[in-house]
């Protein structure tokens, strides 16, 4: 199947800018291979400038787009995925959603075939539609008690429990506390650090393994890979369970 992405002109400019600002080419391992040159990763500056240049989003229009673009089929009418397979978007920070759409558009985020559909969607939508959708998801309350299974975790003696990793990190392994970027209550932090509270644990675990394996590498400085690489699988499960139920304990 031939796929010819038709990235909107203004976004091309933004991505070109992103490309110029970055010295290193970052083809993710396991890149879906859409026949395009490897997209350049962001620097803090290119991301900041690109996000600032996006039009202001309208949550009302975003709510309609969530239906008309069929986003709701996988991500739910209110940003809570009705399936085990996909992330919840309810309450997600607008900047993060915008960045993901741009990354899907450029192919920086693909995760093999999984991300292919999002790539198709992202090359069809306008900047305005991206920010409208992002604004809509940001207005929604974080998911509580979504019907996705929670990990049953048996931590090894050498593992650190999620609570400790979130609040204190692990200086021995150079793991920064998760909360320092993702917020005390998993609400997300500055710019691109996403909200994690209420996230689907299956998606959480999959994402951490993707970071670990380099399948996902759209974080500017590979910080998430560095953390995911040092965490054990059981610690990742524990973090998934911790964040999935965080809205309830708040």
């Amino acid at each position: 199947m031939m796929i010819k992405p038709t990235v909107k002109t203004s976004l091309c400019a933004a991505l070109l800018l992103a490309g110029l600002g970055s010295g290193t080419s970052t083809l993710a391992a396991g890149h879906g291979g859409i026949g395009e040159p490897a997209p350049e990763n962001w620097t803090a500056a290119t991301l900041r400038e690109t996000l600032a240049a996006m039009p202001a989003g309208d949550a009302e229009r975003g709510k309609e787009l969530n239906q008309s673009l069929f986003c709701a089929s996988c991500h739910g009418n209110a940003g809570v995925s009705p399936s085990m397979n996909w992330p919840h978007l309810a309450g997600q920070k607008a900047d993060y959603t915008v960045k993901m759409m741009l990354d899907y558009q450029s192919g920086l985020r693909l995760e093999g075939l999984r991300g292919r559909l999002m790539h198709h969607v992202a090359v069809l939508v306008s900047e305005q539609e991206i920010t409208d959708l992002a604004a809509f998801y940001a207005t929604l309350p974080a998911p509580e008690d979504a019907v996705t299974p929670r990990p049953e975790v048996a931590l090894a003696a050498s593992d650190l429990p999620a609570e400790v990793l979130v609040r204190k990190g692990d200086p021995r392994r150079l793991i920064t506390p998760c909360a320092s970027c993702h917020g005390d209550s998993g609400q997300g932090g500055r710019r691109e650090a996403p909200e994690l509270a209420g996230q689907n644990p299956l998606y959480f675990v999959r994402t951490m393994h993707h970071y670990h394996d380099g399948v996902r590498a759209n974080d500017g400085k590979k910080t998430m890979r560095a953390f995911a690489y040092r965490l054990t699988p059981t610690e990742i499960d524990d973090l998934a369970a911790y964040y999935a139920d965080l809205p309830l304990s708040n």
């Binding site: 008309s68 673009l69 085990m84 299974p149």
Partner: protein, 453 residues
């Protein structure tokens, strides 16, 4: 909140579309077995394989065996895309390896030749006796070639392919279309209701008009139809109107014009749709003369593709599961055969009221039947089923459309319960239309994964 409760987890597994079991961490997989019954599935298509997979997901302790005559499955959904060279015959192949290796489903590649419903035993041509506690039969369809004067299975196989069950006939039709003379006529005969894949004949016509536009621009496509309408007709006709200069019939035009702009074309389209009311019903075929006789008269053709009337697959007849209608009567809640004990019939072959004969329908029926069997064996009541169907179709490579429905049991009949929003909106934006085509392509892949991987 107790999300590690086994009952809750079982509910979750049953109610959610599951990703590949192999891809799921152990904690997201269904809980331990309650039984060791042997469930045998006859037919390794969409219905049979979905049932086998979900039985193992719901209860990994069950022994599940699929009996299927072909070692590799050829998927029928999306198989018209071989004709327009969008995919190859090899792209239709689906392996059973994942079901075998990752789910522990056993496969017996053999023909069923004997059946003792009281002793609950199947016998195969290879001499195996296979005992079962419950039998699921997902036989698919057979094509009734003999319905038309001059047509039979041998003729279809040799020169007049139906290509509705993918295989050598699909490859033959693709070769014929590629070799058709410049300015030739391709005649498609649409089947009467009920038939597998309701939007399929119309999608095939559209894809071939598009293909001829590039490869044989003076060619004609004539769609002969015993019917006057079909599911997704309004959105499909609108696509033809926009893409192929097709003039929409007056009765449809009147309905559509209040909602959307309909183009009036001064020159004839490459595509003609001869409806039942216009004499489109096929009476017979003159194979030597390459002509199709219809109620409206003789139609000269270069390539003929008649999709004949259908009934339940032959194995359903052999096992005594079909009635005089040619289809298999079942209890609507659990698809238990009303003709044989301990047998469930799912997919195109069963009588499912408002549900269409589609792969999607077979898949969703398979899941509810798998659940019903697991609950019954465990002595628990099974929840009331809710079924879904979505048929995606293409009016062109980048022009998608769909019908999406939900069904419930009402007064003993499977009844569609959604009203508005079944179809792509008539006023859909160009982006929505493109997106629907992308969804169609994505669905082909993810649906195959849900059934077979």
């Amino acid at each position: 909140m107790n999300l590690t409760n086994p009952e809750r987890r079982r509910f979750l597994a049953a109610s959610l579309g599951l990703a590949s079991l192999a891809a799921l961490p152990a904690w997201a997989r269904p809980s331990a077995s309650v039984g060791s019954a042997h469930i045998v599935v006859v037919g390794g298509g969409v219905g049979g394989c979905t049932a086998a997979k979900y039985l193992k997901l719901f209860d990994p302790g069950l022994r599940v065996t699929v009996v299927e005559r072909n070692p590799v499955y050829l998927r029928p959904y999306g198989s018209s895309e071989v004709l327009n060279e969008h995919v190859t015959m090899q792209d239709l192949e689906v392996s059973y390896d994942t079901l075998k290796n990752n789910y522990g489903v056993e496969f017996v590649i053999d023909n069923v030749v004997g059946f003792d419903p009281q002793a609950r035993v199947l016998r195969t041509a290879g001499g195996q006796s296979i005992g079962y506690d419950r039998l699921i039969v997902s036989p698919g369809i057979q094509l009734m070639y003999d319905s038309y004067e001059g047509l039979n299975a041998a003729v279809a196989h040799q020169s007049l392919p139906a290509a509705w069950i993918p295989g050598p006939q699909t490859a033959l039709l693709a070769r014929q279309l590629r070799g058709m003379r410049d300015g030739g006529t391709f005649v498609i005969g649409a089947p009467p209701n009920p038939y597998r894949c309701p939007p399929g004949p119309y999608e095939r016509a559209a894809l071939m008009v598009e293909w001829f536009g590039r490869h044989n621009p003076r060619a004609k496509v004539i769609l002969l139809d015993p019917k006057d309408k079909f599911v997704t007709d309004e959105t499909m006709l609108l696509g033809w109107n926009r893409l192929y200069k097709f003039n929409i019939p007056a009765d449809y035009r009147e309905r559509l014009e209040s909602k959307v702009e309909v183009l009036e074309h001064s020159r004839p389209s490459m595509l003609s749709w001869v409806r039942g009311q216009d004499g489109g019903r096929i009476l017979g075929v003159d194979v030597a003369g390459n002509r199709v006789e219809t109620e409206a008269g003789m139609v000269e053709a270069d390539v003929i593709n008649i999709i004949p009337p259908m009934k339940a697959g032959m194995i359903a007849m052999d096992l005594g599961l079909a009635d005089e209608s040619g289809w298999c009567p079942v209890g609507r809640r659990d698809f238990a055969s009303t003709l044989q004990p301990d047998v469930h019939v799912i997919g195109d072959a069963c009588i499912a009221d408002a549900m269409p004969k589609s792969g999607f329908a077979a898949n969703t029926q398979a899941k509810t039947v798998a659940r019903a069997i697991v609950e019954e064996l465990a002595g628990r009541p099974s929840p009331e089923p809710i079924w879904e169907n979505t048929c995606y179709a293409l009016a062109g490579t980048d022009y998608g459309l769909f019908v999406a429905d939900v069904f419930r049991l009402i007064d003993g009949r499977i009844t569609r319960v959604n009203q508005a929003g079944r179809y792509l909106p008539l006023d859909a934006s160009p982006m929505q239309i493109r997106l629907a085509a992308r969804y169609q392509q994505s669905w082909l892949r993810t649906f195959t994964e849900d059934c077979f991987a």
